[in-house]
C-alpha cells in the first residue's frame, strides 16, 4: 500500500457569489491547489469531484467531465454525491486510488452554487437530503431535522440554547483572519439567542449560512513526491466511512450520530492513532448541535458530554482541543459539495503551519476531518498527519 500525501490545497472565497458558476468556482480552487502543489498538470491522472445539488441549482448533471475540463484536464473524472458529505466521499475514493497504486496524482475537491436560488428554493433543495416520502412530505426541512436531534439531545442529556450559542460564538471568533470565510465578524451569545427562530430550538445563528464556493486538494503517492521533489509534508493516514438509516424516525437514537462514530473508529484504526492523539479537528457544524454530536462521535467526549465541553470552552482556540479553527461551516460557510475537502485544506495548512490560526497549535501533528451527509446518515472521517520528508 502506498502512502498518500497532500501536495497542495486550494479554496475560493466562501460567500455570496450567485453569479459564479460552479465550474468557474472549481477552476479557481483546483488551479490554486495545483499551483500550491507545484505539480505538473500533465501528471494528473484522475479527478474526484463532490457536488450535491447541481441538478437543482444549475440544471447540470454529469459533472465529472465538466470539473476536469475546468482545470484543463482530459482524464477520468467522477462526480460523487452524498449530500453534505459529497467531497468527503470523493476524498475517500481518491485516497484509495492512490493507496492502491492505481494513480500517482489525483485532484479531489468539490463545488456548490447555492445563492442563485431564493431562500425558499435553497431550503427545498437542501431538504432532498432527507427521506422524501416520510420526512419532506411531512414538512421537514434540513434545519428542522437537526432541531429534532437538538430537542432529543436536550431531553436525554441536558443542555440549553445558550450552551449551543457558545459553539457559534467560538466559530465566528475562529474565522477572524480567514480570508476565505463568509463571515469575519464576532458575535455574542446574546446575538445568537436573540436571532430569529428557524426551527426551534435552533435559531438563525445556530445555522451555517447558504454559501457559494469550491475546494480542491492535490493528492500524490509518497513515491511521486520523492521522485519529483514535491514538498508534501502532510499525509492522509486514515480514512473511514459510516452509514445509518436515512430518516431520523428509523434511527436507534435521534440524539447521537453512530455513522460518524463508525467512520471515526475505522479512520483511527487505519491511521494507528486514537482520539487522545488528535491535536486539532475540523468538524461538520452545519448547526451548532451538529458540532456537539461530532465531537462525541470522534471520541473527544463521552456521549452527552459534548455540550458541556462546548460550554466550558474546551474546543476554543485557547482550549485543550481546538475545533474548527477555520470558523467551521458556521462562519467559514458551507458550500455543500465543497465542504469535506475544504476541511482537509484547512487541516493541511494547520499542520504545515501556514494557517491564520497556526499560532494556537504550533506543535500540531495529528488532525481529523469529520464530514457528514444529511442528518449523519452518511459520514466520513479522515486523519491527517505531519510527516518527516
Amino acid at each position: 500500500m502506498t502512502n498518500v500525501r497532500v501536495a497542495g490545497v486550494g479554496l475560493t472565497h466562501f460567500g455570496t457569489h450567485p453569479e459564479r458558476t460552479s465550474r468557474d468556482l472549481f477552476a479557481e480552487a483546483g488551479l490554486a491547489a495545483l499551483d500550491d502543489a507545484g505539480v505538473d498538470s500533465a501528471d494528473v491522472e484522475a479527478v474526484h469531484y463532490g457536488n450535491f445539488m447541481g441538478e437543482l441549482s444549475e440544471h447540470q448533471g454529469h459533472q465529472g467531465p465538466l470539473a476536469a475540463e475546468a482545470l484543463g484536464l482530459d482524464v477520468p473524472a467522477t462526480r460523487y454525491e452524498s449530500a453534505c458529505a459529497s467531497s468527503g466521499v470523493a476524498l475517500r475514493q481518491a485516497v484509495k486510488n492512490v493507496r492502491n497504486s492505481e494513480t500517482d496524482v489525483v485532484v479531489v475537491g468539490g463545488a456548490e452554487r447555492m445563492n442563485n436560488l431564493e431562500t425558499a428554493e435553497s431550503t427545498e433543495a437542501l431538504a432532498i437530503a432527507a427521506d422524501d416520502l416520510y420526512e419532506v412530505k411531512a414538512g421537514m426541512t434540513f434545519p428542522g431535522a437537526y432541531a429534532l436531534m437538538a430537542s432529543a439531545y436536550f431531553e436525554q442529556f441536558g443542555g440549553t440554547r445558550e450552551d449551543l450559542a457558545n459553539v457559534a460564538v467560538k466559530n465566528h471568533e475562529h474565522a477572524l483572519g480567514n480570508d476565505h470565510a463568509q463571515y469575519q465578524r464576532e458575535i455574542t451569545v446574546e446575538d445568537a439567542l436573540d436571532s430569529p427562530p428557524v426551527a426551534t430550538p435552533l435559531h438563525l445563528y445556530d445555522a451555517c449560512p447558504v454559501t457559494d464556493g469550491a475546494s480542491a486538494a492535490v493528492l500524490v503517492s509518497e513515491d511521486y513526491a520523492e521522485t519529483n521533489g514535491i514538498d508534501a509534508g502532510v499525509a492522509v493516514t486514515g480514512t473511514g466511512q459510516g452509514g445509518d438509516k436515512m430518516a431520523l424516525q428509523d434511527r436507534e437514537n435521534v440524539a447521537t450520530s453512530p455513522a460518524a462514530t463508525d467512520a471515526a473508529t475505522e479512520a483511527y484504526d487505519d491511521a494507528g492513532v486514537g482520539p487522545d492523539d488528535v491535536d486539532v479537528a475540523e468538524v461538520h457544524d452545519c448547526f451548532t448541535i451538529a458540532e456537539v454530536l461530532a465531537t462525541e462521535s470522534l471520541g473527544f467526549f463521552e456521549t452527552g458530554e459534548g455540550v458541556t465541553a462546548a460550554r466550558e470552552g474546551v474546543t476554543t482556540r485557547e482550549g485543550d482541543l481546538p475545533v474548527n479553527l477555520s470558523g467551521g461551516l458556521k462562519a467559514k460557510g458551507h458550500p455543500v459539495g465543497a465542504t469535506g475537502v475544504s476541511q482537509v485544506a484547512e487541516l493541511t495548512k494547520l499542520l504545515r503551519g501556514d494557517h491564520h490560526n497556526s499560532e494556537y497549535v504550533p506543535d500540531a501533528e495529528v488532525g481529523v476531518a469529520h464530514n457528514a451527509g444529511g442528518t449523519v446518515a452518511s459520514a466520513t472521517v479522515h486523519v491527517l498527519q505531519e510527516v518527516e520528508q
Binding site: 421537514m140 426551527a199 424516525q249 435521534v254
Partner: protein, 126 residues
Amino acid sequence: MSDNVRDAGYDDFLDALADGEGYYLECENGHGSLPPRRVCPHCGSREVTETALPETGTVESATEIHVPTPSFADDAPYVVAVVDFGSVRLTGQVRGADDIESGLEVEPGLDETETEGERLLVFEPR
C-alpha cells in the same frame, strides 16, 4: 414526476391511516418500519408483515418550523414531531395542541397541507 402517479406502499399506508386502519411492517424479530420494504432495515429479515399500528403514540422530539420549503409556505409556523409507537416511529405534524413536549400522547391521522392541499400525516392530542 407526475403528481398523478402514486407512490406504491407509501400512498397505501396513508390510505389505511385515513380509514383509521393504520399499519406498519414488523419483522420476525419485532423491528418496525414503514412501507415499501422488502427487508427489515434493522436486521435484514425478509419476513416483514403488516401489523396494526397502536392507536396512540408519544411525542419523542418536536420542532416548530418557521422557515419552510415553498410547499409549506402558508403552513408555517408548524410543528413537526417524531412520535414513538413502540416498535415503529412516525414523523408528522402536530395539530390542535398548544404545549407540545416529549411524552405527549397523540393519535395519528391524515389531513391536508394549507399551501397545496397535499395529504399530510398529522398527530392530534389524545
